[in-house]
Amino acid sequence: MLLYTCRRLASAVLTVLLSAVLVFAAVQLLPGDVATQVLGQDATPEAVAALRDQMDLNRPAVVRFLEWIAGAARGDFGLSPVSGEPVADTLWPHLRNTMLIAVSTVAVAVTASVVLGVVAGLYRDRWPDTIISTLTLIGMSVPEFVMATLLVLLLSITVPVLPAVVLDEATAPVADLLPAVVLPTIALSVVMTAYIVRMTRTSVIDVMAGEFVTTARLKGISTPRVVVRHALPSALLPTLNVIAMNVAWLVGGVAVVENVFNYPGIGQLMLESVHNRDLPVLQAIAVISALVYVLCNLAADLGAMALNPRLRTGGGSRR
């Protein structure tokens, strides 16, 4: 058990390192470099060369990578050559903002989808299921940017109750950003809910058809009790992974939605950094996202342990 956890952690660290290497290598391939980007239209070859020198771009990539990763381990992601400021200073506020959306989306989506998924699973092939399944199908089939655009049209322009775009900077206080979080959260929740609902539904149906649930029913206990005590823990088990995957996706994949809402999150920063060839920022984003991904999976594993005593106690027939 302890051994398992340690191995799990070690593999998590390894995964993060590997992704850092991959990203670093890929980013090296970007054409045009930050020096030309910073100097922009007036770049003369000499100026570019000087700046490259000043920015340390002329040393071997491996050396730079090792130094960088050593710094990253201490939370120091170096200086952004574009803004000249520490990467961490730009990164954290953006990450915080994305987390704001991510956390509220996860809260909304997970609650909604577990409830809806269970209802759909229990009322399999009857009208509640039909309605829920149809809605999720639509939710899955409409791209996020369409959802976002429609929401803006509806709730910001036609009935102006919520801001259409975010005017604030990344460093604005959380309270100022809160109204702006609502629409992105809805747009993302719809998509995410759709996926989780379907998983939950399938898994509830599977579990409800299982022998132990039948046995519990044949014991004559009430249906809510059968569902909550007997079926749910097992039914949520496969859903956990889906949730973890979705959370990880949220952190990296909100770019499109953030773009629509001009939301100063990590997705926005990512798009900007790709355009600016701001490698240190990109690497930092990639490593942070990988870390979140790995942490989510770890959390899912821990959740699975909580739900599944077989994993917790390590005994039984696990080989």
């Binding site: 045009g32 030309t36 980007q37 910073v38 922009g40 239209q41 007036d42 952004s80 574009v82 803004s83 655009t149 803006v152 910001s156 322009i157 102006p160 801001p163 259409a164 775009v165 005017l167 604030d168 900077e169 773009n259 629509v260 809402f261 001009n262 926005q268 798009l271 900007e272 355009h275 600016n276």
Partner: protein, 496 residues
């Protein structure tokens, strides 16, 4: 026939005028600049809204393209046009309380000429002037001795790089923004948001507004949404496409103000890149297309045709020289140059909503001449760093409001940093030099017109049209007036 314009509610011609309420805060949405954005006028490439609010020039352009007083009250050349004397306004104070004198004006000019700073305006001014030629005989007088005679000199000082900054402020001006303008800087972050507040001590009097807030937004759609949702009052540096303009005009919150002929669109051919090194190919590209078609498709007629000449039709030095559209001749020229069935990539992006329609219309239009244009979409954010002056053919635009001499020198002269076609023609350069030194108004005009003729015939820039800028603004905004790169900051205000 049923044109789109007819089917649509028409687009308002101008902004509402009237007596605005005292005070108020105007919120402007603008495209984000890079993190390197600076408020240093000599160096700035994007912060127009700030510059106009914070600074004054010695000379400014009025709406007819004439030079009129700003911080200089009057000026006169000597007979050859090589020494200019400017009389400066008295009793003007900078935002930090220091007095404006000729030393500040001289410092501003010398700074622009400083090769280390590499100001874009330096390419225009340094052929005429060296730092030693700037003299301050008295606090209220600036004398400039030119290296070569130039009768257009004051007009060149109306450029937005020539805003006057306090003497010795060079290191900090990029962040402090201390000028003599109607607003002073309160807050500014490069590429992000900022705020300027009314400067009570402004020499022309206090502006109507209390403050102006600027917000940066990448996506035009986001800017438009913010306007429609009432989150901002004005979209600056944004020419809305016709369809969007209709949506804005039809909304309850916002409307459109037309800024007539405010920008011209260009398809610059890089004359140093194949196949445009051959002037026959350039000529063919120009002969092959029909600017009227481009104007109709891309602007729905909200502009005038450009005839490949960037000098606006209603300005003093304009020439009516044109190339008649002739696809057959174009085909023949291409054939002569060995480029039968020419295939070229034309880059565009969503940076401006007119680029893509213009590119598509061009593509359509030249098909008759057997030219196959492939429109390539590039990312908006890196458009001006990765595509402009890098790709042989692309779509771009310029703001009008530059004096003809500045325009021709800056964009077409050999070696100028803004020479986007990398065109180099000694005859053209000579023409400009002699025009500048010519005292006779008529003769000068003819020389400038001759230069334009060369641009049309030989140059690399296709200039299909001048566009009215369709500016989205809130229905609350009164007295919105824009010329060149700045608004009428004193009078703009909100409805009471």
């Amino acid at each position: 026939s049923r044109t789109g314009a007819e089917a649509a509610p028409s687009i308002p011609e101008g902004a509402a005028t009237g007596t605005p309420a005292d005070g108020g805060v105007l919120r402007i949405a603008r495209p984000p600049a890079s993190q390197a954005e600076t408020l240093d006028p000599a160096d700035s490439l994007s912060a127009y809204e700030y510059l106009g609010a914070l600074y004054n020039r010695l000379v400014r352009m009025d709406e007819d393209g004439e030079a009129v007083p700003d911080l200089a009250t009057e000026w006169e050349p000597d007979d050859e046009g090589s020494t200019w004397t400017f009389r400066l306004r008295d009793g003007v104070e900078f935002h930090d309380g220091t007095r404006f004198t000729s030393a500040d004006a001289a410092y501003t000019l010398r700074r622009i000429l400083d090769p280390d700073l590499a100001s874009p305006q330096a390419t225009v001014l340094s052929p005429l002037l060296s730092p030693e030629g700037v003299h301050t005989p008295e606090p209220g007088v600036l004398r400039v001795e030119l290296d070569a005679p130039n009768f257009e000199f004051p007009a060149l000082l109306s450029n937005y790089h020539c805003y006057v900054v306090p003497d010795g402020s060079g290191d900090s001006i990029g962040e402090t923004g201390i000028g003599t303008g109607p607003f002073r800087l309160e807050d500014f972050s490069p590429g992000g948001r900022g705020r300027v507040v009314a400067y009570d001590g402004h020499w022309e009097g206090r502006p109507v507004l209390d403050a102006i807030e600027m917000f940066a937004m990448t996506d035009i759609q986001a800017r438009t949404n913010a306007l429609l949702a009432g989150q901002v009052d004005l979209l600056s540096q944004t020419n809305l496409d016709f369809a969007t303009a209709r949506v804005v005009a039809a909304s309850g919150n916002a409307t459109i103000a037309r800024s007539v002929n405010a920008q011209w669109y260009v398809l610059p051919m890089l004359t140093t890149a194949e196949p445009f090194t051959d002037s026959r190919v350039r000529r063919a590209m120009k002969l092959a297309y029909d600017p009227v078609h481009l104007l109709e498709v891309a602007l729905q007629g909200t502009g005038v045709v450009g005839e490949d000449n960037p000098v606006p039709p209603d300005t003093p030095y304009w020439t009516d020289h044109t190339l008649e559209r002739d696809p057959d001749r174009a085909r023949a020229l291409l054939s002569e140059a060995g480029h039968d069935g020419l295939q070229v990539d034309l880059y565009t992006s969503t940076y401006d909503p007119v680029f893509t329609p213009m590119a598509l219309a061009y593509r359509d239009s030249v098909a008759d001449a057997g030219i196959d244009v492939r429109v390539r979409n590039a990312s908006a954010d890196s458009y001006y760093t990765q595509v402009w002056m890098q790709q042989p053919l692309m779509a771009t635009y310029w703001y009008t409001g530059r004096p003809a001499d500045q325009l021709l020198n800056q964009i077409f002269r050999t070696g100028s940093s803004y020479n986007e076609t990398a065109w180099s023609d000694p005859d053209f350069d000579d023409l400009l030099d002699s025009a500048r030194g010519t005292a006779d108004e008529d003769r000068r005009r003819r020389l400038y017109q001759e230069a334009q003729r060369l641009v049309v015939e030989e140059g690399g820039a296709m200039t299909p049209m001048f566009a009215d800028r369709l500016v989205g603004l809130s229905r609350e905004v009164l007295n919105y007036r824009e010329s060149g790169f700045e608004f009428d900051y004193l009078n703009i205000g909100l409805r009471p």
